[in-house]
Symmetry: C2
Subunit: 491 residues, 2 copies
């Protein structure tokens, strides 16, 4: 396997190597598109199933809408279209034929040109609102609370596994409401769901906020977001929830009759998280030995390795672990017993460390004699020898503790790398020297935001929802400001 580049040496290289060595994903034969390998996909399935349950618990249903959007529908909501036009994959033909110059090759059949080009969805508001038009006449048809699990394509020029790929997997919620208030509440509710998921399952502390107008989703009146800090101090936007106002309803002429018989446009939200979360997960907890997975999302939570010389020893150790397996299964803990004789225990230890398995057990003949087992937890690498009695319970406690610890560790780290700054000079100096997040006053103008970005590459990640009101002045222009916003370089 070879060792990973250390994080200190080159964080970016460490990330790329880890994603590939831990069998999470790899680049494919298609520019910018990734292959998500079984181990990576198993983590994604855990993310999916938990989010899916949370969406359903909050009243949403799944549905599926076409991958293609006819150009005329795509361009209907102008801001949305403008925002995504530069990264659209476009289908123009529907047939290939054999190349007259070389029968073993295929060419696009020029006679099979589409009358209207189809856009491969970069996001589905257009096709969905064109559909909702047929579903909504009266307030009785509202709200519509739908989510879709799907692939989308955004033609990115510079791609990185999970973080920025031309095709990615995501979920996109699209809801329709009778009132503005209800739509705003929905957008906020889904931000709560994302926050809970990030904190409880990913062990990832997030700052909840609103994007500035220039960072909003194209077509939204307001974009809520959760922003997380990665181990290199950079920010990663982990999820967004948009209040879309009546923009799409107006673009697609979706009106409803309210209780008083008055006709009005429908209010909308959309919200999404993607396989980008995989990148956030990796960059929040992992170390120079490999992946560190929070137990709640680990495909294998516990792995056991027997250490033996004779078949008799193996049989006895195996018996012990089979008993444990059944105890753990009852408790809903996933367990793998690796008695592959072709690989040495040391190799296995390194492998499961690389793969981020939360708890590793090892048992040799001496342990067997003493009814004990060696247990190593992935986050602290702490090694203990514990009794085999009540082992399932011991393990469950460790898993819970680890889940809590990972969150706390990430939170402490983030806290240590957030600074308040009051002058632009101080900001620039500390951004360069320390990195991390900066709480600073901003005059609320796009000009200032653009200037900071151009000069420092840092952007306003969000205006935190829990920002305290205070009298301040913009660090750049000195104009008055009531709230500090979060500046950082970002993924």
């Amino acid at each position: 396997m070879g060792q990973l580049t250390s994080r200190e040496e080159d964080y970016s290289k460490w990330y790329n190597e880890l994603v590939q060595k831990a069998d999470l994903a790899e680049n494919s034969g298609v520019r910018g598109c990734m292959v998500i390998k079984p181990y990576g996909y198993a983590i994604w399935e855990k993310i999916q199933s938990n989010l899916d349950r949370m969406f359903k618990e909050t009243g949403h249903q799944n549905a599926y809408f076409p991958i293609f959007i006819p150009k005329s529908l795509f361009e209907a909501e102008e801001k949305n279209a403008e925002g995504f036009a530069k990264e659209c994959a476009v289908v123009t033909h529907y047939r290939l034929k054999s190349d007259p110059n070389d029968k073993t090759k295929l060419i696009v059949d020029p006679e099979a040109k589409l009358e209207e080009e189809l856009i491969v969805r970069p996001t589905s508001e257009a096709i969905i609102w064109n559909t909702y038009k047929g579903w909504i006449q009266s307030y009785r048809d509202l709200p519509i609370l739908i989510n879709q699990w799907a692939n989308v394509v955004r033609w990115e020029m510079r791609t990185r596994l999970f973080l920025r790929t031309a095709e990615f997997l995501w979920q996109e919620g699209h809801t329709a409401h009778a009132t503005k208030q209800e739509a705003v509440e929905e957008a906020e509710k889904m931000l709560d769901v994302y926050t809970e998921f990030a904190e409880k399952y990913m062990a990832l502390p997030v700052i909840r906020g609103k994007k500035t107008p220039s960072e909003r989703f194209a077509g939204a009146d307001d974009t809520y977001c959760i922003e997380a800090m990665m181990q290199d101090g950079k920010a990663l936007q982990a999820g967004t929830s948009h209040f879309l106002g009546q923009n799409f309803a107006k673009a697609f002429d979706v009106k409803f009759t309210d209780k008083e018989g008055k006709l009005d446009h429908v209010w909308a939200t959309s919200w999404g998280v993607s396989t980008r979360l995989m990148g956030a997960l990796i960059m929040s907890h992992s170390d120079d030995e490999g992946l560190v997975l929070p137990p709640a999302l680990a495909p294998i939570q516990v792995v056991a390795v027997p250490i033996f010389r004779t078949d008799e020893e193996l049989t006895k150790i195996s018996d012990k672990f089979f008993q444990l397996k059944s105890d753990l299964q009852k408790a809903g803990v996933s367990f793998k017993y690796d008695d592959d004789n072709n690989k040495r225990p040391g190799w296995k230890f390194a492998e499961y460390e690389l793969k981020g398995v939360p708890v590793r057990l090892a048992m040799g003949p001496r342990d067997l004699e003493n009814n004990q087992v060696e247990i190593v937890r992935r986050d602290t690498k702490e090694k203990q020898v514990v009794s085999f009695d009540n082992l399932a319970e011991t393990i469950q406690n460790i898993l819970e503790e680890m889940q809590t610890n990972l969150y706390k560790r990430a939170l402490d780290y983030r806290t240590s790398r957030i600074q308040k700054v009051n002058t632009y000079a101080e900001f620039k100096e500390k951004l360069e020297k320390d990195g991390g997040f900066f709480l600073a006053h901003w005059d609320g103008t796009e000009e200032t935001e653009a200037l900071v970005k151009a000069e420092t590459q840092a952007t306003i990640r969000c205006i935190p929802l829990d920002a305290r009101e205070e009298d301040g002045v913009c660090m750049v222009t000195g104009k008055p400001s009531k709230y500090r916003v979060v500046f950082a370089k970002a993924y």
Copy 2:
């Protein structure tokens, strides 16, 4: 809602109306692509989750491969490429720009033409085998047992909801093996999985067989299939499992070193079922009143409707049903209590009949007094009045009985519409008069097969795996034949 066209009057119209009125799916603003609505998608989720579990129980893991296939990879396996070339959606550009003649419109940016066109996957063998090439060096890397849940696109000219759509959802398994025997066994094992799923969950009897060479998957050495009979006597191919030989390994140069150190090409299978199963499900059990769903796949298994005049009555009835809800939840039975005051009970009864909810309960003040409830099962429409005591158990028994009954009913129906025929004249007459499936001798040539298809529209659905050997002569040419094959018109 309006009534459905009856099956007798126009089966095809009945199907189209039912799919839309029962809120399963509808046509979208994109030619040939459907919107799967929440109720339809909930059934698909049940299909998915059961199949996914069965795949995992048989040792498979999920992964995800790109939606695009570069043309040069697509054409590598010639037969496969030839088979799908005529129905490929092709991406040729990666950017839009605003139309200089009308700033509110977008046009494809001619400067953003791809150097190599990308095919939207009609099936993923090409991109997957191009990936497997990097994963396989030695027999130790085999077998690879991977499944993918994905959308695919085949540009069909005549489309029908679920049965034939330009985009559809499916799963595609792609496995790699060290020996021919192992690959054949895998293809057969997955046919078993599909058979079990069809019979046990869909209550759908299927004929297991092999396709004739001309009906094989493009690129396969053998195609196994399950064929089901719809209520109009036509066949529907419900799933296929392909033994791909070394065709893709050769096309993509995927070799491995075996235990003896010898280099050989890898053996392959692929297998898939799609949202087409939704069409099979609908056309197997439903009736003129609407959908009939097997309990194992029904999103709502039991619905309860209160019948009341006063709030006091409603409260008492609701208390009863809340108690039942908790009992059913414990037993894993999904239950909906519909106390919506804006709709009359009669309207609700028709609605849930249309939606195929297996068991419908109703309780009025008189029932409350007598501690009883009215129960109607969807398959037989039989109405009973039963005691509220042990009601959860009564319901579970009815659900089980219904699952068994639907299978039996479909099997009896199929049996009644399979005939043996010995002459071509008899075949043609009975095909026209009776429809259904025909067991007939065939000389094994493509010419005869093509002739029958051209003259009657019937095709050889399969050579049944359990065909009994008998001395016969081809119904068309009189040449000797050892086995009867299944002829039918098909979806």
